[in-house]
C-alpha cells in the first residue's frame, strides 16, 4: 500500500525514512505543536517550497534542463490569484478563476519557450531563460495597473480562509480554529497530493525516459524517443506545478509582489534547495526545502549567538554578524555542491547501500 502511494520509490535509507516521517508529522501538527505565527509561516513556506522545488527537480534533476525561468511560472500562479482576487473581489470563484487563467498562461508560455529553445544546447537554454525571466519581471513592473508594480498586490482571501474567520469562540488545544488554520491545512493537503503525483510521474515510464534523455539524448533519439516532445512536456508540467505553488503562496500571504515570486533570489533559493537536498530525488526537495527554510529563518538567530561570543575578535565578529547570514548560506551551498554532489538524499542512500553491501 505504502509502496503504491510512494510509486515504488521508497526512501531506501533508514535515516532518510526517519527524517521524512518526522517532517511529515511535524508539518501535519505544526499549528498545534509549534504555536506562534512565525512558526506557522515558516511551516507554510516549507510546504510551498517543497512543491516548487519538487517541480523544478522534475526539470533539473530528472530531465537535465537548467532553467532560470521557473520563478516566472511561480509568479504567474501567484499573480493569477492576486489579480483575480483584487479585480473580482474575494471568493473561491475568483481564486479558481485566477488559478485557471494562470495555468493556461503558464501552459502556453512554457510550451512556446520549450518548443522555441529546447533544441539548443543546455547552456544556451539556461541563459535564454535567464533573460526571459528578467524581461518578465520588467513586464510585471510595467503593467503596474494590473500587478501593483514594485509594491505588489495585497488582497483578501475568501471567507473561510481569511484570518478573521473563526469557527469556534474558544481555542482548541490552545489554538484558534480560524481562517489561518484552514489555509494552512489547505496548503498541506494540496502539497502532499501534488508531491505524490510528482513522485508518480518521475517513476512512470515517462519519467524514466526523462532520465534517459538527461543521460544521453542522442541515444534516446536513436532508440525512438522524440526528445523534444518529452522535454517540452517536462517543461510544461514543471511550469504547471510551479504555478500551483505560486497560487498557494499567494493564498497564504494574501499578498503577491515581485520580490516574493519573481525575483532572481527566489530562483537562487530553488537552486540551493535542489542541490542541498539532492538532484533527481524527489525526496531531496522535501529535505532540502525544510532545512533551507529553517536556515533562512533561524540562521540569523544562530549567528547572533556566535557574534556575541566573538564580540571581541575584530574580523571574526564581522564575519559571523547576523547581517552576513547570506555569506554562510553561500558557503554552505558551495560546500554542498563540493562534498555532497548527490545532495543529502544521495549521500544517505549511498551510505545505506554501503551498509547493505558490508
Amino acid at each position: 500500500m505504502l509502496n503504491r502511494i510512494l510509486s515504488h520509490d521508497l526512501p531506501k535509507s533508514r535515516w532518510l525514512a526517519i527524517a521524512l516521517v518526522i517532517i511529515l508529522i511535524a508539518l501535519a501538527v505544526a499549528p498545534f505543536a509549534f504555536p506562534g505565527s512565525k512558526a506557522l509561516s515558516v511551516a507554510a513556506k516549507m510546504l510551498v517550497f517543497v512543491l516548487l522545488v519538487a517541480s523544478y527537480d522534475l526539470l533539473l534533476g530528472y530531465t537535465g534542463i537548467v532553467s532560470f525561468a521557473h520563478t516566472m511560472f511561480f509568479g504567474i500562479g501567484a499573480y493569477g490569484v492576486a489579480i483575480a482576487s483584487t479585480r473580482l473581489g474575494e471568493g473561491f470563484g475568483a481564486v479558481l478563476a485566477g488559478l485557471g487563467i494562470a495555468l493556461v498562461i503558464s501552459l502556453v508560455l512554457s510550451l512556446v519557450i520549450g518548443l522555441f529553445s529546447l533544441r539548443v544546447k543546455a547552456i544556451f537554454y539556461a541563459m535564454i531563460t535567464l533573460a526571459v525571466a528578467a524581461a518578465f519581471q520588467t513586464l510585471a513592473s510595467q503593467l503596474s495597473d494590473l500587478t501593483g508594480g514594485e509594491d505588489g498586490l495585497t488582497f483578501k482571501n475568501p471567507g473561510v480562509l481569511s484570518p478573521s474567520f473563526e469557527l469556534f469562540e474558544e481555542p482548541i488545544l490552545g489554538v484558534m480554529v480560524d481562517g489561518k488554520l484552514f489555509s494552512y491545512y489547505l496548503l498541506f493537503v494540496v502539497v502532499l497530493v501534488l508531491f505524490l503525483a510528482l513522485l508518480r510521474i518521475v517513476n512512470s515510464p515517462f519519467g524514466r525516459v526523462l532520465q534517459a534523455i538527461r543521460e544521453n539524448d542522442f541515444r534516446a533519439e536513436a532508440i525512438g524517443y522524440r526528445t523534444v516532445v518529452y522535454r517540452t512536456l517536462s517543461n510544461v508540467m514543471a511550469a504547471l506545478f510551479a504555478t500551483v505553488a505560486g497560487a498557494l503562496l499567494a493564498l497564504w500571504l494574501r499578498y503577491t509582489g515581485p520580490d516574493t515570486t519573481l525575483s532572481f533570489e527566489i530562483m537562487l533559493d530553488i537552486l540551493l534547495i535542489v542541490v542541498i537536498g539532492g538532484m533527481g530525488t524527489m525526496y531531496g526537495a522535501v529535505v532540502g526545502a525544510v532545512l533551507f527554510v529553517l536556515a533562512q529563518n533561524y540562521l540569523q538567530d544562530l549567528l547572533k549567538i556566535g557574534e556575541t561570543a566573538l564580540a571581541n575578535v575584530p574580523v571574526l565578529s564581522s564575519l559571523v554578524s547576523p547581517d552576513r547570514w547570506l555569506l554562510w548560506l553561500g558557503v554552505l551551498f558551495v560546500l554542498s555542491v563540493y562534498h555532497f554532489p548527490t545532495g543529502i538524499v544521495g549521500k544517505l542512500r549511498a551510505r545505506a547501500l554501503q551498509r547493505a553491501a558490508a
Binding site: 515517462f206 532520465q211 543521460e215 534516446a220
Partner: protein, 259 residues
C-alpha cells in the same frame, strides 16, 4: 525491404556518401566493407536519420522515410548500434535495456493509450519489460552486471550492451557498426551467435559493417563495398573478396590511395 536511392551527403565540398542505391532483402545479411573513411558509418547515419541527406531517398517497405527524424525512423523499424558506443552512462545495465524495450513497445502503440507518454503507471508495473530485459542480458552474458552503471563497464562489455540495446528494439532492419571492435576473443562468438540467430529468423534484414574479414566471410550472404563514398562492388562474398578492387584498395598491401 529497405532501399536507398541515390543517397548522397556532402560536407562542404566533400562527398562522404555518393549516390548509393541499394536494396536489402529480409533474411539476408549484407556486409558493408570499405577502407576507413569510406562512408560506411555515414551511410548508416543517413539511413537511420542521424544526418539529413543532401540528395536521394530512403524507403522501408515502400514507405518513403527520407524526411522523418531519427526517432520516427526507429519506430518504423530501423534499428541501429553505434560504432562509438552510445549508452546511458549513469543508469544501470538493466535499465539501459529496459528503456529500449519500453521504446519499442510504446512505439508500437502497446504502451497504453498514450504510448510512451505514460505518466501515471509506475514503471515496475510493467514487469514483462523487466523480465525481457533480464532474459536479454543473460543472452549477451551481462546478467551478473545488471545493476552496475553502464559507464563502469569495461570496453568490451559496453560493446555487448550496445548490441543488446539494438536487439531489444527488435527492428525490421538491424544495422551493426563494427559490433565486435575491441571485444575479447572469447566474447566475439557470443555476438556472432546472436547475429546468426537473427539471420535464421528470416524476417529481418541485417546490415553489418565489419573490418574483420573472417567474420565477414563467415556470416555474410552478400557484400557491398564502399570507396570514397561510392558503391564500387556488390555481390556474393567470395566474388567480391576476390575482386581486384577489394584486394587492392582494402585488403592489399598497397596504400589506400595515392597520397
Amino acid at each position: 525491404m529497405l532501399e536507398t536511392k541515390d543517397l548522397t551527403i556532402r560536407f562542404g565540398g566533400h562527398v562522404a556518401v555518393d549516390h548509393v542505391s541499394c536494396a536489402f532483402k529480409p533474411g539476408t545479411l549484407t556486409a558493408i566493407v570499405g577502407p576507413n573513411g569510406a562512408g560506411k558509418t555515414t551511410y548508416f547515419n543517413l539511413i537511420s536519420g542521424q544526418l539529413p541527406a543532401s540528395e536521394g531517398r530512403v524507403l522501408l517497405d515502400g514507405e518513403d522515410l527520407t524526411g522523418l527524424p531519427a526517432p520516427l525512423r526507429t519506430r518504423r523499424g530501423l534499428g541501429r548500434a553505434f560504432q562509438l558506443t552510445q549508452l546511458f552512462p549513469n543508469l544501470s545495465v538493466r535499465e539501459n535495456v529496459r528503456l529500449a524495450i519500453q521504446a519499442r513497445e510504446s512505439g508500437r502503440g502497446k504502451g497504453g493509450p498514450m504510448g510512451g507518454l505514460d505518466l501515471w503507471r509506475v514503471w515496475l508495473d510493467r514487469q514483462a519489460w523487466v523480465d525481457e530485459a533480464e532474459a536479454l542480458l543473460a543472452q549477451v552474458r551481462l546478467a551478473d552486471k545488471r545493476d552496475v552503471a553502464a559507464s563502469a563497464l569495461p570496453h568490451g562489455d559496453q560493446r555487448k550492451l550496445e548490441v543488446a540495446l539494438l536487439i531489444a528494439l527488435d527492428p525490421k532492419v538491424f544495422m551493426f557498426d563494427e559490433p565486435t571492435a575491441g571485444m575479447s576473443v572469447d566474447d566475439v562468438p557470443v555476438i556472432l551467435d546472436l547475429i546468426r540467430s537473427l539471420k535464421q529468423r528470416r524476417d529481418c534484414a541485417i546490415l553489418l559493417v565489419e573490418h574483420k574479414m573472417d567474420v565477414v566471410r563467415e556470416l555474410s550472404d552478400r557484400i557491398i563495398v564502399l570507396h570514397n563514398g561510392a558503391l564500387v562492388a556488390d555481390g556474393e562474398p567470395a566474388a567480391v573478396i576476390a575482386s581486384p578492387v577489394v584486394q587492392q584498395a582494402y585488403l592489399g598491401m598497397a596504400a589506400e590511395e595515392p597520397a
